[in-house]
Symmetry: C2
Subunit: 232 residues, 2 copies
DNA sequence: GGTTGTCTTTGCGCCGGCGCAAACAAGGGA
DNA sequence: TCCCTTGTTTGCGCCGGCGCAAAGACAACC
């Protein structure tokens, strides 16, 4: 069993390839180009012509979007098994975000011609992919609503919980977020400033809900955070 | 020529049906259920089981999302020719938003079984539909960024311009937004309060950039607004 | 025509969160 | 090992925007 199959085993389970045979998936994988990127690498940049649809096989990406003069937001973290840059399906489009590697990552990319062919010959995959995109849309709608309706501290709590669910690793201390995550990044993700994030985390640390260090956060009491996020 | 064909003429041009033959579109239309709703009617409610994908043939919908205790945002206005509730493609899903009729509207709806069949037998339509959803996603990402990075007044300016592009009608006074749009709704769309919107519009009215009345806005000087939205 | 309900305007006071500045902490590289 | 870069904390002052309250404007309906 080659490592290609090894991956498809893991990925086939995912929504994206549900309903497709294993060898079908293998063939589709064969049409893409696989590569490994080091931590910190930029896969593509916002505004560049979109040439490749990417599937993350291992590691993690960070998608960011820039506003005039430096302000940036983190649109999403992309864990292994998920798609980035579905927009690249359409030839004339530009990447709407920048993708950077957080953990060392392995990625498989298809150019639009290829991907469009694949979709037209595997309608099942097209429907699955639509589902993925729609779910992304719904998640973003929810975050958008949070941004309107909730105080900053609640948004930070929710963000921590969301990231914890995606990337938490149980340790004896509590649930560790297993990639470098700075105050600055958390601020860009929640739409606030690094100062406010720092103050907030400090206060939670005093309450014993979390423990944190340089680019490192451990959630000790998720339940307390959850209550805090929900409370009026 | 029946009025069904009349509509397909108008709609076929749209992205959604590009690359499909006219009779093919006709047949697809035939599989859905058409109905007319009066202004103010609710087509579906957030949280209800999603049963129908809707295409707006005429009129306009407003999509809203609720937060605990009354706060609501307007996710989007859906003009004629566009899809609402693509999520309803997937049987177990719930509507993520509430859809209400703004102008009297004619709508064609397909249940998930039907729509999924259509997509699986018309991969071309699936790809087109993906494009529509992806463009929606990108628009929302942009608005999300604006919400982070821009002052309230700039967001209101941008919102007005966006709505003007979609629904502006040229009059001798200026460009009229041709549906009822209250201060409250503009506030829910831009993530602020009706007070702030009112104050802002008043000030612009004094500058001669707009004219407004009860649930009615005319943009006199779009260029001024554009500069204002862009300015640092 | 009068009445009623909804939409809008504007004054006023308050406060959450921003952002500079400055000090401190933690790595990483030579 | 020391230095230098990058991240974090915290004090302090300021202000944009919120939200109540009360009055005015408009539309619709009897």
């Amino acid at each position: 069993m080659t490592d290609r199959n090894l991956f498809s085993d893991a990925i086939t389970q995912a929504h994206l390839f549900s309903g497709l045979g294993e060898e079908e998936v293998s063939r589709i994988f064969g049409l893409g180009r696989r590569s490994v990127y080091p931590s910190g690498a930029t896969i593509f940049r916002e505004g560049d012509p979109a040439v490749m649809c990417c599937l993350v096989l291992a590691g993690r990406l960070k998608l960011t979007k820039l506003h005039e003069e430096g302000k940036e937001i983190i649109v999403r973290y992309v864990p292994a098994g998920e798609l980035a840059a579905a927009a690249a399906l359409f030839a004339e489009k530009k990447y709407p975000v920048t993708a950077q590697v957080v953990d060392q990552a392995e990625i498989i990319g298809w150019d639009h011609e290829t991907m469009k062919d694949i979709l037209l010959t595997h309608p099942r995959l097209a429907v699955n992919m639509m589902r993925v995109v729609i779910e992304r849309l719904e998640e973003l709608q929810s975050r958008h609503l949070e941004l309107h309706a909730e105080r900053v501290e609640q948004r930070i709590a929710r963000a921590l919980l969301r990231i914890m669910e995606q990337s938490g690793r149980k340790t004896e201390e509590g649930i560790l977020i297993d990639f470098r995550l700075s105050r600055r990044e958390l601020a860009d993700y929640t739409g606030t400033t690094l100062y406010t994030v720092s103050r907030t985390l400090s206060s939670w640390e005093k309450q014993g809900w979390i423990a944190s260090g340089r680019e490192r956060i451990v959630i000790i009491d998720p339940h307390a955070l959850m209550l805090f996020a929900e409370k009026d």
